[in-house]
């Protein structure tokens, strides 16, 4: 009885806290709507409007009629997946090393992992040009072996990978820390090989976190502009990616063309966002189901 009264008083307190004057609520909620409308919704609609205003056939022609634009789409669709794949491998390796082993320099490594987030992408791109460019330290050496990184697609992969490096590792490290090493140690003592351990124990435990990291990494990789801008030399039909193409068409006063590519890029980003939302819903539902299951078991025993 005492408990319930206490609970009741807590609740009235809580609702009381939200009893702001009517006009304050109106202003706050109104501002939120204005910001979302003005900064996100209207510009988005405007881009779609600009791209589609001349008609759908013109829109499609703008996208697929221009060989340079076609190539830019192709470029983004190859560079982003390669960068995501590299970062998946790197993220798994980094998370594994940093959560399962204690070694000198571990703290430093954890901090260094955030460097790509801290550095401006343009600076990152410049860094690669200075290092691997023809006038750079390693460029001539690589040229002797027939490798050209800067102003070619491998450079795009390199820059994109660098900029999106922390996404997957940062997602996995807290997750693997929370799960702890016990299940893996149990598998090892039962005779599992490292390969069996990874595929049968570690991966199933982290799969949703990994997928979440991959989605985020992919969204960022597709939209990357700054680092790629510096590294690519923006050669039309060779090293332009979609974001670079949008900018170039805009500079050439080809607004319908620019907006068409922008719309496609936006649609790709929105589908990534949708995948993320669906995944979040799925995970929340799964958690709820597991909790319910666990509590019903507690109830019967």
């Amino acid at each position: 009885m005492q408990g319930s009264t206490h609970h009741h008083s807590l609740r009235t307190d809580a609702t009381g806290m939200h009893q702001e004057p009517f006009w304050v609520r109106c202003v706050l909620i109104g501002m939120a709507y204005v910001i979302v409308l003005g900064l996100i919704f209207i510009p988005l609609i405007y881009v779609f409007y600009q791209a589609l205003a001349p008609g759908v056939s013109v829109f499609l022609d703008n996208l697929f009629g221009d060989p340079d634009t076609r190539h830019a789409i192709w470029m983004t669709l190859t560079v982003a997946p390669i960068a995501v794949l590299l970062n998946t491998i790197f993220g798994l390796a980094a998370a594994w090393t940093l959560t399962r082993f204690r070694f000198p320099g571990r703290g430093t490594l954890l901090t260094l992992l955030d460097v790509p987030f801290a550095i401006s992408p343009v600076v990152a791109g410049l860094m690669f040009v200075l290092l691997f460019g023809m006038q750079g330290y390693l460029g001539p050496f690589l040229r002797d072996y027939g490798i050209q990184l800067i102003f070619s697609w491998p450079g795009l992969v390199l820059a994109t990978t660098f900029v999106t490096l922390p996404f997957i590792a940062r997602e996995l490290i807290p997750l693997m820390q929370a799960i702890g090493p016990d299940e893996e140690l149990a598998a090892v003592s039962l005779g599992a090989s490292p390969w069996q351990l990874f595929w049968q124990i570690t991966l199933p435990n982290i799969r949703w976190g990994l997928l979440y990291g991959i989605i985020q990494c992919n969204a960022r990789a597709m939209g990357e502009f700054g680092a790629v801008f510096v590294v690519s030399g923006h050669i039309a039909g060779e090293t332009d990616t979609m974001p670079l193409r949008v900018e170039k068409l805009f500079q050439e006063y080809n607004n319908p063309g620019s907006f068409a590519v922008a719309v496609l890029l936006t649609l790709m980003a929105l589908s990534t966002l949708l995948a993320k939302v669906l995944l979040e819903h799925y995970l929340a539902a799964q958690d709820a189901a597991r909790l319910e299951e666990a509590s019903s078991v507690e109830g019967t025993t």
Partner: protein
């Protein structure tokens, strides 16, 4: 399979978890590593399993040196404190895991899993997930999983730590019976002396990375080697006194103490267990101590009585047999006399080495 630990030292940074520890575990023995947290018992268990590696020393299974062998090749069944069941696998797949990674034929795996689920009394629960089991059931799945690969030995880390009292008691006697049936060398870690004494053939008491005493439960209980063991076994009354020329003087009573024959008096401590104290209405000898009965707790097999000794400013715990409690008609507030029937005297070791 016998286990031999030879001069194992293990450090975590500045902290010494194990300090030159040596131990023999005879084949077929059920041994308890007993000690407070931080005494190194879990580190020792993990070093035997190969989940942790010693800085110095070696581990032998029978005559085979396994110090450098990887955990997966040691053939050890390990049960983790929080079971570490594979959450995404059913009970069946958990138990089958060790056999699957060894690519045993499907039929053999099937038969063995069913046999083991029967052994741990979980028939019919093979399709469940760990989240759908109670704590005691999870514990038994962990045991079945460890036993599935026919391990050379079974190692258990605080096997009953996370269970409630009733399930704990059941599982203890069940583990004891299981060991009698299978006779696989078993080492388990616990901080609960009652658990160690009830389940194990041999008890190893550890403290700060060293072994204080090894023996059967009876040996350890009746002849604690050090004040720490005496203290750790719990529930003991402590008297401070001195020793001189082969006699310990503790309060009004004296005990022979042959280990110290010098004339110069030294400080010493006497430990008396609650059941070694006799309670009486009238003083029967000069060793009887007068006190006031503060509290009675008649809820167990013996009546636990607390007596305040005003003269010495200490409080004693005394176990009184029920019949005697009725004969004496004890009540809180009564003036009573307490007489030690036996006691153990220890001298601080630093002063002992003159």
């Amino acid at each position: 399979m016998s286990i031999a630990i030879r001069s194992i030292t293990k450090k975590f940074g500045e902290f010494t978890a194990l300090d030159n520890v040596s131990l023999e575990v005879p084949s077929g023995c059920l041994l308890a590593l007993l000690g407070p947290s931080g005494s190194g018992k879990t580190s020792l268990l993990r070093i035997i399993a190969g989940l942790e590696h010693a800085d110095q020393g070696s581990v032998l299974f029978q005559d085979e040196d396994v110090t450098l062998q990887a955990a997966r090749d040691r053939g050890v069944g390990f049960v983790f404190q929080h079971y570490a069941l594979f959450k995404h696998m059913t009970v069946f797949d958990n138990v089958a895991f060790g056999m699957k990674v060894r690519s045993l034929p499907k039929q053999e795996i099937h038969a063995r899993v069913h046999e083991l689920l029967g052994l741990v009394r979980l028939e019919g629960l093979g399709h469940r997930y760990p989240a759908e089991l109670s704590g005691g059931q999870r514990q038994r799945v962990a045991l079945a999983r460890a036993l599935a690969v026919r391990p050379r030995m079974l190692l258990l880390d605080e096997p009953f730590g996370a269970l409630d009292a009733k399930v704990r008691q059941e599982l203890r006697s069940w583990l004891r019976r299981l060991h009698e049936e299978m006779h696989v060398t078993t080492v388990f870690v616990t901080h609960d002396q009652e658990e160690a004494f009830e389940v194990a053939d041999r008890v190893v008491v550890m403290r700060q990375g060293r072994i204080e005493q090894v023996g059967t439960p009876q040996e350890v209980f009746d002849h604690p080697a050090t004040p720490f063991v005496m203290d750790f076994l719990g529930n003991v009354n402590v008297f401070h006194g001195r020793v001189q020329a082969g006699t310990a003087h503790v309060g009004p009573f004296q005990l022979a103490y042959d280990d110290y024959l010098h004339d110069e008096p030294r400080q010493a401590t006497a430990y008396v267990r609650p059941h070694e104290l006799e309670i009486e209405r009238n003083p029967s000898s000069t060793a009887s101590l007068q006190g006031t009965l503060v509290q009675l707790n008649p809820s167990g097999a013996v009546v636990k009585v607390r007596v305040q000794l005003d003269e010495y400013g200490i409080e004693l715990t005394v176990d009184v047999v029920r019949e005697q409690w009725q004969v004496l008609a004890l009540r809180a507030g009564d003036v009573v006399y307490v007489r030690p029937k036996s006691a153990r005297v220890f001298m601080p070791s630093a002063e002992y080495s003159i």
